[in-house]
Symmetry: C2
Subunit: 352 residues, 2 copies
């Protein structure tokens, strides 16, 4: 068949920018690549595959002739427009939280559950939350060998998970505080400085420079943050383990891009560090960086801008049977968002 046409909806945001970079640099299988954004951004000219493309406004007709549409827009925009794209004949790949847990919408990580992408009665496929995605390739590979049963996760989430405004806020706060060598030594001091120098409307509920904030998302039942429940529910669906036990605490840290996770994972079968190293090395999209004797483990700054999931600090839990402790890093804008959606699009395009 002729090359499929791709629409990128939300082309001007943080993930949209990475998405244009990714589709420009991966094997070019696409016919037209149409850029779509809110009417406010329509008319902007952006580069894709080295060419200037004029951004079009999000209207129903924009999906005419489109085979696959990737959405990176807020939940409420997805709720309205993803079904429109699907009704117009496009296969919609949605990055938002809107459809992820719908029984008739698959939630896909191509290296973990590619076959799920074929069951799409509504022509909608969801791609997971960026925090869940940061560990999925690694945990999927280990699950396939050892049978995952329990996950206890603590996250170290980058500010760009809150979009362009998140990164800007961290840079602004760092600039406002740089040079003051009492910062972080006196309670309340930082907030006074920031209140004087910066607008109050931060995307974060507390100062983020020189701080960590144990909150991501919105408040759900019993004190849980939405991000923590997503990590639980999405992991269960992607891995196909409805009874997987998960507890997560999500924490924002002053890192620009790349989420990290400390993971405590219990398996059905015994697993040694050597076993885990072998499985993780064999997983195509996982990079094992685990040699603490030589100071080798992953950190966000070394991972940013790259595609794989990086795993290090693999240890056999001393007191828990069949359990590994490990540290995982993944670029939240690439594998955590744009890359996974692009990979799903390629997977779907291959069967068109």
């Amino acid at each position: 068949m002729s090359r499929p046409n791709l629409a990128l909806v939300g082309a001007t945001g943080a993930v949209g920018t990475v998405m244009r970079d990714i589709v420009s640099n991966r094997a070019d299988i696409w016919g037209e690549i149409r850029l779509v954004a809110s009417p406010r951004s329509a008319g902007k000219v952006l580069k894709v595959r080295g060419e200037d493309v004029v951004v079009q406004a999000l209207v129903p007709e924009v999906f005419d002739g489109i085979d696959i549409a990737i959405f990176d827009v807020p939940d409420e925009v997805s709720a309205e427009w993803v079904p429109v794209a699907a009704e117009r004949g496009a296969i919609a790949i949605d990055k938002s939280g809107t459809f992820r847990m719908h029984a008739d919408v698959p939630l896909v990580v191509p290296e973990v559950n590619p076959l799920d992408a074929r069951q799409r009665p509504r022509n909608i496929i969801s791609t997971p939350n960026c925090t869940t995605l940061s560990m999925m390739a690694a945990m999927g590979a280990l699950h396939a060998e050892y049978g995952l049963q329990e996950l206890v996760v603590a996250s170290y989430q980058a500010v760009s998970g809150a979009g362009v405004a998140g990164s800007a806020r961290l840079y602004d706060e760092v600039e406002a505080l740089a040079g003051d060598r009492n910062v972080g030594q006196v309670a309340g001091d930082v907030r006074q400085i920031l209140d004087k120098k910066l607008p109050a409307d931060s995307p974060f509920p507390a100062p983020i420079a020189f701080n960590v904030v144990p909150w991501a998302g919105s408040l759900k039942e019993d004190g849980w943050a939405s991000e923590e429940l997503k990590l639980r529910n999405e992991s269960r669906k992607i891995l196909g383990i409805p009874e997987l036990k998960v507890s997560a605490t999500c924490v924002r840290v002053p890192v620009v891009t790349t989420h990290s996770l400390a993971v405590h994972a219990r398996f059905e079968r015994p697993v040694t560090v050597a076993d885990a190293h072998r499985v993780l090395t064999a997983a195509p999209t996982v990079v094992l960086v685990d040699d603490p004797a030589n100071g080798v483990w992953p950190t966000p700054l070394e991972v940013v801008g790259t595609d794989p999931t990086y795993v290090g600090r693999v240890r056999q839990a001393i007191d828990f049977p069949n359990t590994l402790d490990l540290f995982v890093c993944g670029d939240n804008l690439r594998k955590g968002a744009a890359l996974n959606a692009a990979e799903i699009a390629e997977l779907v395009a291959a069967e068109l």
Copy 2:
């Protein structure tokens, strides 16, 4: 009896500075307060209780007439000098890792195991690692009511845990990087900037500004970092639970002072969030800050410079019985170091 004489050994370091502040501001029960440091620092004049005190060199005679000596010095200095102080008749309170796990040396957190301080055949009492201490008051209170069985911990450790050099390095890196709005968006970029602008001898094994580093301490068996094993072994000893199951991943974050911990704690008996709130509120040195509907939880910047252990984000684990997930913050230089040692000294002084 007359007021006991106190020696502060290591009076010029990061913890020593906080220690002078603490003994100057708590109820004054001391006769002489003698400041002791390496011969290099001897002769310096420092303030204690509003008075100038000349720092004395660490020699055996410096302990003559001293009733209690608090040591905050490197492990190898403690190994040599703590027994000297004890032999000269002082009760030595040691902050280093040297004696903590010795069977004939108690490891004491005054609000958790005060009676242990009385069993000191060598006249040495150890005070725990700052990371362990960050959660001990809270976990001790919950253990007393519900019987702690398992702990899975991920840490968010401040740079001042690595001393004055740790804080200085973070400030230096932030200054070198401030104003560059590409920082953290391109892999390797930050390292290139820092290599040009800063000395290579960081106290941390990777850039710490705009980064998190999953390593604290030295390499021990099977890939574990010393800090992670300390958290396990010291928690067992302080709480008096030799069979306590513990897994920890220790991570350094770009926070100046105050360690935070994400804790997943399983108990022998059922415990609700309301139960935990009641117990934590009743614990004298714990402050409960847990109202996410109003954006209330602890962050390091709000805790620094204060004495209590702060607890928030208390949640009942959805999939694990008798289990709480929570987030704890404590100033690593105060309760995590100087304050706990000062409290032990007061406890011991009360029975002299």
